[in-house]
Amino acid sequence: MSRILKTSILKNPPEVLKLWFSLRCLPVPLSVNMARPLPFKIAVVSTVLFVVCTDFVFCNSGRRVGDVMDTEFSGFSVPLEHSFEVADVAKFRVRGALMLKAGREPSVSLTQSQLSEEDRAKLKEVAAVDGLYRIRVPRVFLQADRQTERQMEGYLTAFVRACAMVESHLSDVISLHIDVSGYVIGVSIVTLPGACRGTEVEDEVDLEVFNTTLSVMAPVNAPGPETALFVERMEQESEKKGKNPQEQKSFFAKYWYLILGGAIFLMVTNSAQPPAGGGREQS
């Protein structure tokens, strides 16, 4: 365990910094952890550190202890914008703010306001003509150190049918897809339920509050060929065979009677023939 941690530290120098900072400003509970056996300890420490640190910074966000720490651990926010127009010309307005937290497992949270009366009416109108409800987020780089590097030019957009949005009473699932290095590459939105059945939403209250499920999707590591397990299984099988004495016997041990029988048969046929041949030769 300790070895793995070391390599990961070597690979990502900022992480050392992170650990160091957290150590410096940590309150008491950590020293208790320190007393545990070593291999287990580091893992626990690192996770605890992480949790504590994020909490720590969260409470201290106003105080600005150090610039580096601040950018490392406080999330940063980008606007989540949406657009629904009867004319189908996108006009994006702010729907809420996405709080993104970088790190090993990036997380995201969303603060969003309610839909205004006007917007509700418009959304229903758009749904009636089978228009689109679009969202967009700016392109972001989660692992950047500085704020300026985080935002990049351009937007990522996605859409659902407005009617689906209405009929699901604004319950949508938004996921941000990031790539290996932490760039947000795409955003997707689906509603639950997803179908447009043409059911009327009478109650205006249903269209007031967004019921959003938010997630960050990192790429999955595709598996390679499983050789180790296979070889292990093969060995087990051969061991099993080894225990079975029947399998252990050599070729001769197994079939000695057949070979012996064959040999006797050959001998008999050989000994029977020469006199006949000889007889013919003589005559």
């Binding site: 990522l156 290095s181 590459i185 179908a195 999955v220 595709a222 598996p223 397990l229």
Partner: protein
């Protein structure tokens, strides 16, 4: 490892079927055609009078010998692709052909009779300039190779180096040519551009410099382009600026003599760089004193150098009559130019003595469309080889048309109903036609039966083309890089039509689409070829009939804007032509055909027509929706950071693919439903970081309508090239693992789960749940060139992957082996499901090669098409060669075998029938007896 392999073998033996070609089936269902490509060098084998060989070295790094009587290959050697196998020079002497390969890296000698390698040596590095055979006292024993800084002499018999010498002042002088006149000296000619010529003479025996002179020549920049050696070592150059010839005796003079062309009474075509051509029939003797001067594109002169004086022997002005007899046995050319439709690239002429001692000529002509034609003197074409087919870019298979009678019947149903009486009349008339055709057929059978069998011809021609019972014979429409289109009969490989498109840009991208199939009689089938210039993006359309190759009378729209995307829609116009949408760089959409009816249909459907664009330079994938006014709107966007990864390929599913089963039955009799999204795209990315530890490839599965990323995976420590096949609910890709240094296959399968969300219809807009993703990887023991999946009519037959290997084999790998549900530990349920236990290695079994010993060199693509039989899939592999065959992934379950015993089955049937009759009677009697008792 041995155990591992042994186990795999056992598994495979247990659970797979044996399929192979019987010896008598060889060539029955398949054919192969071998090509060589565009010719670069050619030599007629002249050392034996009756020889019928011509040696060819081509741009595709192929060295081959062709029979001049038939045009067939004697032998062929395919070298590495790319600059390593590039053939720089071809020299021939007697039985030996010497090749310089790979920018002077290798020197090889081949025996031209059997095509065997005599010897091969590796030369020192250095960029190759020139090579020549060196003779002395009428025997040729050496070959000289000139490189940038050194000259080396090798024995012709074994390739050993006799001597190697550094060239003097090679930093300043650009040595370009080497010449030997058979007097024991080797001359190396170099030039300092716009200054002087440097001539170095080496002794043949020990490589000592005999003489080193430099001659003023401020007008000269390139020796090889403008100078030749004529007669007794007379270097002759042509200068277009001063319109004059310069001569220099290599042995004596140190000053060039200027001979203005005007003094010879000649005039050069303005703007044309004159070209000199000389011949040296025997390397041990000096070149001939006759030489050619080309003054204009169609103006050639035969000149002679006679004791320092240049005499015009003959002036070949553009001529109309071809193959006039020539005055000299010097090679002559330019006469045939007029005979050809396409402009001539290269021409090789063989002069020979006829039986009556007159001189005859044979010429091998290579034209712009890469056709090799061999012509004998009276203008008879002996053979042609379509070398354009060595570079097929894309192809389609089109059903053959119905015969006249079949079409008549089809037409009856196609037409609009007029009324009861007219329909009845129509039916009667078509029945009458059928009867007539049947009688005609009978008469023909009777007539043919009287003739001897050899006279009954069974050739495939364009007239008697018709669909067979099971639609196994199709028309292969092939598009080649040179811009020549071919129509090939898939059964025999006969070229039925060819059409050359001139003014095709050299870097064109082609897309071939079938707009109307043969199913809509009397409307002719229609194919559209989109030709796009990769630099400018400007595109043109060529609309043609795929059966006859004729250009269609339908005028395609002129495309003035650069094109971004083209897509075929399933909607048809009134004449049953599918609509082709073309998106230009202003994101405006135009339709072809664009009749009123089509535009109306488009308006109705606009809100459900989505398309996507890929910009790999910016790493951008974007989705658009059509508006009713045929403009588009951006609806989704995915951006890959180009500094991390770049998009390598985007693969959708084939539109004509059918999936028969919605799910898989599990061991416990429940059903696992497949995620069958027809709009799914598999996007493959490669990392820009090529370090083996950090490089990766990424696989994204994206819904093409909503832009939703269904699945995102990275395969770490791997790199491309990645080959992808995307079909049904699976994606198979192959990559190189930098960690384990081997090729690996990976398969992703998508399942909806145990319940189907909406079983009636699939809509990308309404699939809120992400599918289950299963993935597994395997080791593959070979690298691959290309990959494709089999395709059948209804999708009932199990799928195989067709893999083109660099070794020339085409492997048919059952998809069953690439199944992420292969269990590591066998359970009762997985056994019930017929799953093969997981083994990390996929083995190549020799029975899986569908092309047995018919090696297909440099496979670049495999095309699969369904046939009328569900069990049968037609396969065409193309690369340097073309190979066509049929595959039966689930064996021929719908075909009775050739040796099926009809007698036995019918006799058994009859016997059973009578047995039941008799036993019934007996039973009745018994019952009656019992009743009486």
């Amino acid at each position: 490892m041995a155990k591992l392999i042994w186990f795999c073998l056992k598994c495979i033996l247990l659970c797979s079927t044996i399929e192979a070609v019987f010896e008598d089936q060889v060539g029955k269902f398949d054919w192969r055609q071998q090509y060589i490509g565009k010719v670069r060098f050619s030599h007629f084998d002249t050392h034996v009078q009756s020889s019928k060989k011509v040696l060819l070295a081509t741009e595709n790094n192929v060295f081959a010998s062709i029979n001049t009587r038939t045009g067939e290959l004697f032998w062929r050697h395919v070298d590495m692709t790319g600059p390593e196998g590039n053939i720089d020079a071809l020299l021939q002497h007697g039985q030996d052909a010497v090749l310089v390969v790979g920018d002077g890296r290798q020197l090889r000698s081949w025996d031209i009779n059997i095509g065997g390698l005599n010897w091969e040596i590796v030369l020192d590095s250095g960029s190759f300039q020139s090579a020549c055979l060196v003779g002395y006292q009428d025997t040729v024993k050496h070959v000289a190779v000139l490189k940038k800084t050194v000259i080396s002499l090798h024995y012709l018999s074994n390739g050993h180096q006799k001597w190697i010498e550094n060239l003097p002042e090679s930093e300043t002088v650009d040595f370009q040519a080497v010449y030997s006149g058979g007097n024991g000296e080797v001359y190396v000619l170099g030039v300092v551009p716009h200054s002087h010529i440097a001539i170095v003479a080496y002794s043949l025996d020990d490589g000592e410099i005999i003489k080193q002179i430099s001659v003023e020549a401020p007008w000269l920049s390139n020796i090889q382009a403008s100078c030749v050696v004529i007669g007794q070592g007379m270097l002759t150059c042509v200068d277009s600026a001063a319109v004059s010839l310069y001569t220099l005796d290599l042995h004596v003079q140190s000053q060039m003599t200027q001979i203005p062309l005007q003094s010879l009474g000649l005039e050069a075509t303005p703007g044309f760089q004159p070209v000199l051509v000389s011949t040296q029939p025997n390397p041990a003797r000096p070149p001939l004193s006759e030489f050619f001067l080309q003054l204009g594109p169609e103006h050639h002169l035969l000149l002679q150098l006679n004791s320092g004086q240049i005499v015009t022997l003959r002036d070949f002005k553009p001529v109309r009559n071809c193959f006039t007899t020539s005055v000299s046995c010097v090679i002559y050319f330019s006469l045939i130019l007029q005979c050809f439709l396409y402009s001539v690239f290269q021409l090789y002429v063989q002069a020979f003595l006829k039986k009556d001692d007159s001189v005859g000529y044979r010429a091998m002509v290579q034209t712009e469309d890469h056709t090799l034609t061999f012509i004998q003197q009276p203008g008879r074409v002996m053979w042609t080889r379509e070398e354009a087919l060595s570079d097929v870019v894309t192809m389609e298979m089109v059903d053959l048309p119905l015969t006249g009678t079949q079409a008549e019947l089809e037409g009856e149903f196609g037409k609009k109903a007029d009324g009861l009486l007219s329909m009845l009349l129509k039916r009667l008339s078509s029945q009458l036609i059928l009867l007539q055709a049947w009688i005609a057929h009978l008469w023909k059978l009777f007539y043919d039966a009287r003739k001897p069998r050899s006279l009954v011809k069974n050739d495939v021609t364009i007239e008697n083309l018709s669909r067979d019972e099971f639609n196994l014979q199709k028309m292969m429409v092939m598009v080649t890089a040179s811009g020549k289109l071919f129509g090939i009969d898939s059964k025999t490989g006969t070229i039925l039509w060819r059409h050359y498109l001139d003014n095709i840009p050299s870097n064109a991208a082609f897309k071939l689409m079938v707009q109307r199939t043969t199913a809509h009689f009397p409307h002719p089938p229609q194919c559209t070829l989109l030709i796009k210039d990769k630099d400018t993006g400007l595109a043109t359309l060529h609309v043609f009939n795929p059966i006859f190759g004729k250009k269609s009378h339908v005028t395609p729209p002129a495309l003035l804007q650069p094109m971004l995307q083209s897509l075929m829609l399933p909607i048809m116009d009134q004449e049953y032509a599918k609509v082709l949408l073309l998106v230009d760089d202003q994101y405006k959409v135009s339709a072809f055909p664009s009749t009123k009816n089509v535009l109306q249909q488009l308006q109705e459907m606009a809100s459900s027509i989505f398309f996507y664009l890929v910009d790999s330079n910016q790493g951008k994938l974007s989705g658009y929706r059509l508006r009713t006014d045929l403009s588009t709107e951006l609806i989704w966007e995915i951006v890959m950071p180009t500094e991390v990864q770049r998009i390598v390929s985007v693969k959708g599913k084939r539109p004509n693919e059918h999936v028969h089963s919605q799910g898989r039955v599990m061991g416990d009799r429940s059903v696992l439903y497949k995620y069958l999204n027809p709009n799914l795209l598999a996007v493959v990315t490669e990392s820009t970081d090529l370090h083996p530890e950090r490089s990766f490839i990424g696989i994204l599965l994206i819904d093409g309508v909503t832009g939703r990323i269904i699945h995102e995976a990275v395969q770490r420590k791997t790199r491309g090239p990645v080959h992808v096949v995307h079909s049904e609910n699976w994606v198979v890709y192959e990559y190189w693992s930098t960690k384990s240094r081997r090729n690996e296959f990976s398969v992703i399968e998508l399942y909806e789960g145990m319940e189907l969300y909406n079983s009636t219809v699939f809509s990308s807009l309404d699939r809120p749940h992400a599918p289950q993703v299963l993935q597994q990887s395997y080791i593959f023991p070979s690298s691959i060139s290309t990959m494709e999946a089999t395709l059948t009519e209804k999708g009932i037959t199990s799928r195989h992957l067709l893999i083109g290997l660099p070794s020339g084999g085409i492997l048919s790998l059952p998809k069953m082996f690439l199944d992420p549900r292969r269990p590591e530990i066998m359970s009762e349920q997985s056994r019930e499901e017929n799953l093969i236990p997981y083994a990390p290695e996929l083995l190549i079994r020799s029975e899986w090669f569908i092309n047995y010993n018919q090696t297909v060199s440099r496979v670049r693509g495999i095309y699969t098409a369904p046939s009328g039989l569900e069990s049968t899939c037609l396969v065409v592999a193309y690369g340097l060669d073309i190979y066509q065959t049929r595959v039966y992934p689930s064996k021929q379950f719908d075909v009775l075998k050739d040796d099926y015993d009809y007698m036995l089955i019918s006799s058994v049937l009859f016997a059973l029938f009578f047995a039941t009759m008799i036993s019934k009677r007996l039973a009745e009697v018994k019952l009656l007896n019992r009743a009486w008792r």
